[in-house]
């Protein structure tokens, strides 16, 4: 595939216990995700979903195999500066528990990745403000996470993921802590990423959520057992 954004070749990942025992989590995963695709990763607990997401997100190094990001092999990169830059500029993370900084306002939370990138204050706060306005939180800029509902917090977290205009959005159970209506709202935003040609990789164990994706990959015991395209649900 010419437009391969993410390509994993025989990707292996093992954890090692202090006794030296090897616990293999990913046992040779081959996967190609094209630019602009919305992919849901499903599977049982312990099947390696989150580990796969963390590897794509450069939070984990591979034990063995190759990871090509936009054609570049970064599976062997260990340099913190490079990996942090990729996480900062190329990717945006969205978590189940939102993971906002409790002491910072919504605006500051969203602007933080731009701070790490070294953008000037006015620029990053303007961008953060525009993003929050676009998800209907223009009147909540100075609110702290504890003063927002779950759905609002997740929207702030999505804005944070978008502030450096990444090509890839990585989401781990983004609707897992939300009621169905708020979850639907989040999925609506995710569907809109397609219009901006952003690639979305989302881990979920809920079939109704996975329906919003173009493609569903099942993992079991560290291996891909099925990989199917579908007609995405139109909410």
């Amino acid at each position: 595939m010419v437009n391969a954004e993410i390509k994993l070749i025989s990707a292996r990942k093992s954890y090692y216990l202090s006794s030296g025992e090897e616990i293999p989590v990913l046992k040779g995963v081959n996967l190609t995700i094209a630019k602009g695709e919305f992919v849901a990763i499903m599977g049982e607990s312990g099947g390696g979903k989150t580990t796969l997401l963390n590897i794509i997100g450069c939070l984990h190094p591979l034990t063995d195999g190759e990871y090509l990001l936009s054609g570049e092999n970064i599976g062997a990169v260990r340099d913190d500066f490079t990996l942090a830059f990729i996480r900062n500029k190329k990717m945006g993370f969205v978590f189940q528990q939102f993971n906002l900084f409790a002491r910072l306002s919504a605006l500051k939370n969203v602007a933080l990745p731009a701070l790490y990138l070294g953008r000037p204050r006015l620029e990053r706060e303007n961008r953060a403000r525009r993003l929050l306005e676009s998800v209907g939180l223009g009147d909540r800029l100075e609110h702290r996470p504890s003063e927002l509902s779950g759905g609002q917090q997740q929207r702030v977290a999505i804005c944070r993921a978008l502030v450096n205009e990444p090509d890839i959005i990585l989401a781990d159970e983004p609707t897992g802590a939300l009621d169905s209506e708020s979850g639907l709202e989040i999925m609506r935003i995710f569907r809109d990423f397609k219009k901006q040609n952003k690639t979305v990789v989302m881990v979920t164990h809920t079939a109704t959520v996975a329906k919003f994706a173009d493609r569903i990959i099942y993992l079991r015991d560290g291996q891909v057992i099925s990989d199917n395209y579908q007609l995405a649900s139109k909410y």
């Binding site: 939070l59 500066f81 942090a84 996480r87 945006g92 993971n99 910072l104 701070l115």
Partner: protein, 399 residues
């Protein structure tokens, strides 16, 4: 960027006020100690300077050296001053003094005062003034007369009933003495004695009639020039050894010191004191630094999840290192500033107690502040470094 990181550090310190204040306590006390050390050091230096400011460079001082087994008792006497004056070629002047405690009575009960057996020139040498009556002259010294001059406080105490002291007879020790003068109030102390609370007699009379062997004899000598100090010291030693009939194998029964070595000794003592206090301050700062390190480890452990999030959204190791390092530096710097305030605020209070002399010194605040910052960097680095090296996935998983 720095502005944001500093604000974030301040916010997280403010979020845990009790802990912040408690962990600052060590550094507050440490820096206040540094301030005190320098105030005491500067005070001791000033005291040394004040003590010797009237001492000319050609002064030599002789004191009795008792208690040494080699000699038993000292034969040093105020009369030796006259002998030195007569025999030593390189000596301009020599004045003997003897001091001790004595009970004095006028009519009623006894009271204890300092007795100063002095030369007739004592008045002018010590910058004293007579309030009424007169000071004794060379003839009264030579005649060993019991002519007493009273310090202002002593006179007011003894003659509380309003009688004119001049011409009155007081009992000094067991002997009668006639009061011939009263001194003006001095206020402070002159060396170890308070002249205000003293009775002054001619040194010859004080030695012979009252103090005998129990007084402390001191002879002040002026050499004829600074260059001759060494020669004069040897000359005086020879004269006194002959006068005291010391055998060749006996040690001197007196101590002889020149101005230069006396100043050096006093400065050495002051320096030793400030070394000791500096060591105490250093230990306090070390302990406070360990306290800060401890608190920073707790903070890092508590915020492990935050560290994971920061890494996931693109925070570099350096960003996280700086975040925690700045927090510990701000913590210790605030502690340092409070410590400086506390130290400077305490100086006037301690100075009132009047046991030790204190003086403000710029070195105290500057060194205290620099040390607090260094402590913050040094003891904050390791926790911050550990935080920056955390595995992002492990950190994210922690609660």
């Amino acid at each position: 960027m720095w502005r944001e990181i500093i604000i974030m550090s301040l916010e997280s310190l403010l979020a845990k006020k009790t802990r912040t204040v408690l962990s600052m306590l060590g550094i507050i006390i440490g820096v206040a100690t540094v301030i005190a050390v320098f105030a005491i050091g500067q005070g001791a230096q000033n005291a040394v300077n004040a003590q010797f400011q009237n001492l000319s460079a050609n002064s030599i001082m002789i004191m009795s050296n008792r208690g040494r087994e080699a000699t038993g008792s000292s034969k040093l006497s105020v009369a030796d001053a006259a002998v030195i004056r007569e025999q030593a070629a390189q000596v301009k002047s020599a004045a003997g003094a003897i001091t001790g405690n004595v009970s004095v009575a006028y009519g009623g009960e006894d009271k204890s005062y300092s007795l100063i057996g002095a030369d007739s020139e004592y008045l002018s040498i010590s910058n004293l003034t007579v309030a009424s009556g007169r000071f004794f002259g060379p003839d009264e010294v030579a005649g060993k007369e019991m002519a007493a001059v009273l310090g202002a406080t002593a006179a007011a105490d003894l003659f509380a009933d309003g009688t004119d002291p001049i011409g009155a007879t007081v009992t000094v020790g067991a002997k009668k003495a006639e009061v011939i003068g009263v001194l003006k109030k001095v206020g402070g102390r002159l060396g170890p004695l308070s002249v205000d609370e003293a009775v002054i007699l001619p040194n010859t009379a004080a030695e012979k009639n009252i103090l005998g062997g129990r007084g402390m004899v001191m002879i002040n000598i002026q050499a004829d020039s600074v260059d001759n100090i060494e020669a004069a010291t040897q000359e005086i030693t020879a004269i006194l050894r002959a006068e005291h009939k010391l055998k060749i194998d006996q040690e001197d029964d007196f101590r002889i010191m020149d101005a230069g070595s006396m100043v050096a000794t006093a400065q050495e003592t002051a320096k030793m004191m400030s070394y000791l206090l500096t060591a105490i301050a250093a230990i306090t700062l070390l302990v406070s630094g360990i306290g800060i390190m401890n608190v920073m480890f707790v903070t890092v452990a508590e915020r492990t999840k935050e560290i994971g999030i920061a890494k996931a959204i693109g925070g570099k190791r350096a960003d996280i290192l700086w975040q925690f390092l700045l927090e510990s530096v701000i913590l210790s710097m605030l502690g340092g500033l409070i410590g400086i305030g506390l130290g400077l605020g305490l100086i006037p209070l301690v100075a009132k107690i009047n046991i030790i002399t204190l003086a403000y010194s710029w070195n105290g605040p500057i060194i205290g502040f620099s040390f607090s910052v260094l402590v913050g960097i040094f003891f904050g680095f390791y926790p911050a470094f550990k935080a920056s090296r955390l595995d992002p996935v492990d950190a994210l998983r922690s609660e």
